[in-house]
Symmetry: C2
Subunit: 99 residues, 2 copies
């Protein structure tokens, strides 16, 4: 049951650190990706905005340091909530990209 996204993107917006009812730190952010990809033999411009969450100690560690930065993140996709099918990336790993 694979579910892994690896994405290089600019952190467009980073929210303030918040906590779940169970006390886990949560950092919510919006990622803007732009690249060229090859599809069916043609090069095409690809762009997308992905909402992303970082949960746990990493949220505290990266809080305040991501906005405006270019990062490569990996994690799994999930729907936002039981009632909201919007896709959200749950980040498991963050790496800053040297510009």
């Amino acid at each position: 049951m694979q579910n892994q996204l690896v994405l290089t993107a600019a952190v467009e917006r980073e929210d303030a650190l918040r906590y779940t009812p169970a006390g886990l730190p949560v950092l919510e952010m919006w990622l803007r990706h732009q690249s060229r990809q090859r599809e069916a033999g043609f090069e095409r411009d690809v762009s997308c905005e992905v909402q992303a969450l970082l949960i746990g100690e990493a949220a505290r560690k990266f809080s305040g340091s991501l906005a405006g930065k270019m990062v490569t993140v990996s994690g799994f996709l999930s729907q936002r909530s039981l009632r909201n099918p919007r896709l959200v990336l749950h980040i498991e790993h963050v790496e800053f990209v040297k510009g």
Copy 2:
């Protein structure tokens, strides 16, 4: 500029094969993923629906054979169109999962 999603999912719905104005075959489908993932030390149920496109010869090859099947697909995410930010997976590789 990485952008790769690997996802194991059931093909919930498969549309009829269509063609782009340039004559490329396009197969559109909806994927339903369910799994358990580990996050911040806790196991959680993960579910999502992902709209996906297969473009080119592979679209013709797989047309009519995907609905109801379990597959592992890989590809890149893009927004639906310039005006529609909905995420769509552009499939580069399809593998049937033996059930």
